[in-house]
Symmetry: D2
Subunit: 282 residues, 4 copies
């Protein structure tokens, strides 16, 4: 933004909104340097996502692997807060876009951040591999550090509901296939499986890879930085959110609460009392 | 926005965002023409709300009545989608502002629009009164039109849960007090009670005024236009939304779904099946 | 929901959240009856979207055409409110999911509803074709009705910025290709072009098809109902929203306003004045 | 939540949503133990906010001071991202509740978190005072720690636009008044002014208290914990957000972008190029 002091008016205003993603003039739309009409029909939807986020087109197989990860996490049912919120929102009389917004909004550090944390964890180990440390040592060192200082679950492992999350082994199997064909290196799959094995050795029981760990493997193989994976999860889960919002919109419910209509909630507060004399706060 | 063709640059940019609400220069903030430091400590919070929305300061008693309506609707418990969503959002790892946003977002036509509809209904009748029609006739005519063409519930009457909503008679009582002191005319209270009586006469049972109908009476007495009352409801309910979000943030729940964690949902779709031969859609 | 009166407790709670989209048990996730691990790697991302929304898998070519429409509308630059909001939100210190939520939320009737309106318009004409009316007559009749009663622009035509939107002719060309191969009927392309021609004849100048009209053609060809197309647009535009949010997150801006930081806005309200005597509203 | 293993069905479902804020039965609504009809008309709107958030009624003067802080921060004009977003959202065809949601959502760590940070900073110093350290020493020690490790601005001081924020000295003056009358202790005002003085001494120029620092003083005097102050700011700023959304809704703009309609943005990305041979990613 050099030279803003020499710019005035419209030029200064237009510079305020500069971007390297899209260029436009009347009759012209270019994404990352490509004419939009050249892209349409030539690149798949996952390839378009990749281009928009990273500035270059992926190979066809890379785009296919991205699409696989995006497709795997679309839904986890109405017990997921995001899905329940989408359905509740629809019954409150807002548009489908607003129902999706209220739902997407809650894909925060806890609901949406697990993949990001897993990929950061893998990335720390990958950096040690780059520095020459053997895989087992790098995994062990990172786990030691984790178990010493960070609380909670090892990122990417375990599921409160599924003994084995059926999505995870399938995603790793496919990653291995893509690695065998030279599309990706397979290095993040190695890291994730080494973590899984080392945790099993230490705990005496296997805590299997979950969907967040498995998609983090793919996003890592494809070179996405960790914070961007939360955005990819938003794109993916938006599909399920839309499907549930749409299904709900076909029903006649109004102001759908979390529990059946005739139920209430448990009150755990101060028992009934009278207002103090004087009028507190009027 | 006259003369934009003669403006250039910064002037054109600044004109794009014109407003009659706030004026600012370095060291100066004015709301509706008043220096902010003159307002602070001199006008109550409800009076500030009134000034911001309507451009002029209310009388002290008008502001008090506005505050009464705002205070009455702050909460209806976790069975209200807005409240449940705020609590769920907090457990997903977003900030308190985002939890409030996801919740406020669902105060749409159904959840948040009932007061607006009630005030429009009252306003139609008030217009007939202005034109000289007697109250009973105006109410009857409007109800005839409603029952002929519009479906659903008469706006402002009835509650799925409360036989009598304890907020409504108290709000009407207070409105009568303010009318007796000449702060408001009492005309909207008359209209609401006439509707209630006529519906009882026609249906053979009383369907009492609800919170939306009662706050609509007050907002109508104070001269707020119907679409703005939804905004007032957002301000009011935001208090309960914040209280529940805050209470939830003191708990350790993660990804709180609508039902107890070990419960699922009923599946009503296509029974389990195999993928078709060929690869549908790859 | 028959027989709720005979259900109690958990069964009643689980029934409250019934869905035909997803079935789950420990270790089992099924979408629309298919095991998730069978879908992963076998169906493309657009095919997964189709399955989730419509309950059945599309043909491979149908999924490809859906992906084309989704890819075409991903971005229209920072002058689009959705994109600008995403970028502003990031600089306010919220997560990428919340930035996306604030942006997606505004894809309402005006910003996001144009495709829905266009497809409804086409659908009215298609219904007349089904009833045996010739295309030109059906188009003319619908336009007459539109011009008589509905104000504003003919849905799907014209663009405030692009003389010809470069996306539209390319999308129609591709639709024709798919029709030539028997994937779709081509009927909605016929309808849209007939509307374009009739409007040109009446106005004496061509008002070309825009992106909303062109994607509506594809969604219509593929059998999506109009209200669902707004959801599809949300999925599509979410890609651009994410790309811009991500790009912005790499910058150091804080609280990015709409105009350059040193600019203000034009104030058009009450000139500076003193507070009235007495304390209005305290 | 003891004994959940012994509960079944409805009891378990109702326990899932327990709260100490609101109790309800048909015809009964109690907030924090008080019958709602007893509260309505007896406590001011700020007192209701206090009761909801903290469980007990404030004194009348405490409620008044809370109302002063809430009223002071309602608006900072359309250059604030929250306000601009509210106005843009309205022009996109969403309800006023959704416009408010998109805006409130961005009151995150940067836009909405400054008061929270200021109050935490003050609280650290207050804890040292409690432990017997003199004020000047406690301030100096905390500033040393801040300047050593934390980057950026000292929380609560300085403004990018206002040399002196006119709201801050007025709020401190009022806090001193309330302290003189024994409503609050004045301790947080002391702390804030000591910080201001010490920073001036070190930097050789005064960096005056800003609105975030001044409202944090009041919230601290009143005993609110830091994270809750962001919620209070949401309540306060929601007023300005609503006022601007409402004002915008009276205009005819559609899809209002950040800059005048005929302006664009600066493109800084890859120059125009052709798609590679082969079909990248289809």
């Amino acid at each position: 933004m050099s030279g803003t002091q020499n710019k005035t008016g419209r030029a200064r205003g237009e510079e305020w909104w500069q971007t390297g993603i899209i260029e436009m003039r009347p009759g012209v739309i270019r994404l990352r340097g490509y004419e939009i009409q050249d892209l349409i029909g030539r690149v798949s939807f996952p390839a378009m996502i990749w281009l928009m986020l990273r500035g270059e087109l992926p190979g066809e197989e890379q785009a296919a692997l991205l699409g696989i990860a995006l497709g795997a996490a679309v839904d986890h049912g109405p017990q997921a807060p995001s899905i329940a919120i989408a359905r509740m929102a629809i019954t409150c009389g807002v548009g489908i876009n607003s129902a999706m917004a209220s739902a997407v909004n809650v894909l925060g550090d806890v609901h949406g951040g697990a993949g990001e944390q897993a990929l950061s964890f893998y990335g720390d180990i990958a950096a040690e591999l780059d520095a020459g440390m053997p895989l087992a040592d790098a995994v062990s060192a990172r786990l030691n550090r984790f178990l010493a200082g960070e609380n909670g679950y090892v990122p990417g492992l375990g599921h409160r509901f599924h003994p084995v999350d059926p999505r995870a082994p399938r995603l790793i199997e496919l990653t291995r296939d893509f690695a065998a064909r030279g599309i990706v290196s397979g290095r993040f799959a190695d890291i994730a499986e080494a973590i899984e094995a080392e945790v099993a050795r230490r705990k005496g029981k296997k805590i299997p890879l979950n969907i967040d760990g498995a998609t983090a493997v793919i996003y890592g193989e494809l070179g996405f930085p960790p914070p961007l994976t939360r955005g990819l999860f938003v794109l993916s889960r938006s599909v399920g959110i839309l499907a549930h919002a749409w299904e709900q919109s076909q029903e006649s419910d109004r102001n759908k609460g979390p529990l059946p209509r005739e139920w209430l909630w448990a009150y755990s507060g101060t028992p009934v009392r009278s207002l103090p004399e004087g009028d507190g706060g009027k």
